[in-house]
Symmetry: C2
Subunit: 218 residues, 2 copies
DNA sequence: CCTACCGATCGGTAGG
DNA sequence: CCTACCGATCGGTAGG
């Protein structure tokens, strides 16, 4: 009789996953606060308490929704680039994969984390802390890849790694903002161009791959 | 007996302004949707209908709040730079002024327009359209200043003006995001550095002012 | 600018 | 997973 998950059956887990898929979509478009239990119940044709029983409180629902969005981000953006060799190539792939996930509108409201971080940046609590930790982890992942690319000799040693990560991250977030606000896909071209130019300036000319086209041999 | 503003007296206008100052602050931190009439009434120690009578509907309240925020932005960010000569110097001043308004936390929840554009990008309607028009106007103002700086010969003619505006705008929005999310003021240093480097790369070396320190004479 | 009210919806509980 | 509730709050109206 656990109030959080009534029966730990496979069926209950499946229902929970279905609820969270809808929750992530609603939250990305209308916000985590406006994600009401009644709204979810209507969309899923369940009773309010049927939804409620899976989470136990509104805050637990919000936390579960953030976790579910994080899993989708990992699966859609991070997983596909893990096969690419670490360093400069993976850095480029991470940014391309991230832009692709925004452009393909994986979530109804654009990048889930851009939406909810703006919503919760002034709302102290566990939800905000989780969002901060997850978005920070992605920034750190970009920084780590820049550090590896430098260690590989692919990037110039005097490049400020924090600045580079800040600027690359900014281009993708700006593309998401401009695309959602003005419904103009040219923002993706601008972001790709900014990323390519910014990285090319940091590339070590001694390493033989300033861009793919110029690579002569393996 | 106009339901929107009951009495067009000076006193009523003053009350309306007082309501909107609180409304802008609440909306920047908690969102324009969560800006409820009851919440405003409590904070201002007025009755709900006392607030309501000034606007006539929730949507009109939201629209008035966006307008009020726009006036504050104009006054805090735009007005101070109008005395600076147009072109490269004003472009730099616009970005510095904008960063300053974010760092000084003019609104409780950081940049009002960053917050509400993320909130309304998936909510079609007049409120969203107004937010889009106002944020677009600021992007265009940056683009216009870049065009003037180019016409002045201060920026290189082969600089892509849309790309430059996109990247500069991105740095400031990223600083707002990082500051609000991680409460880390180093984001402002990163943004200032990114802006200075990006502009310096676009500066025409023929014009004698790549940076203030290197200027030899007037 | 107020009191007094409306139906709808909110998060959450009792009990099954 | 359900029905049947709870008090609080929502946007909005009547009438002054």
């Amino acid at each position: 009789m656990n109030p959080v998950v009534l029966y730990h059956t496979e069926h209950a887990k499946k229902t929970r996953r279905e609820i969270l898929l809808v929750a992530v979509d609603i939250a990305s478009a209308e916000g985590l606060e406006n994600l009401s239990i009644g709204r979810l119940a209507k969309e899923l044709r369940m009773s309010k308490t049927g939804i409620f029983a899976h989470f136990g409180s509104k805050q637990q629902l919000q936390l579960a929704t953030v976790d579910a969005a994080s899993e989708i981000f990992l699966q859609q953006v991070v997983q596909p680039v893990l096969q690419i060799p670490q360093g400069l190539r993976r850095l480029r792939a991470m940014l391309e994969s991230w832009l692709g996930y925004i452009e393909q509108s994986v979530f109804r409201g654009g990048c889930f984390f851009a939406a909810v971080s703006a919503e919760f940046d002034s709302r102290p609590g566990k939800v905000r802390d989780n969002i901060a930790a997850l978005t920070k982890a992605w920034v750190v992942a970009l920084q780590d890849e820049i550090a590896l690319a430098t260690a590989n000799g692919e990037l110039l040693r005097d490049v400020n790694q924090n600045e580079l990560a800040f600027e690359l991250h900014a281009y993708v977030q700006e593309a998401n903002w401009a695309f959602k606000m003005f419904n103009d896909r040219s923002a993706f071209m601008l972001a790709k161009s900014a990323i390519a130019n910014r990285i090319d300036r940091a590339v070590n000319p001694g390493s033989i791959k300033p861009s793919r086209k110029l690579r002569s041999a393996k």
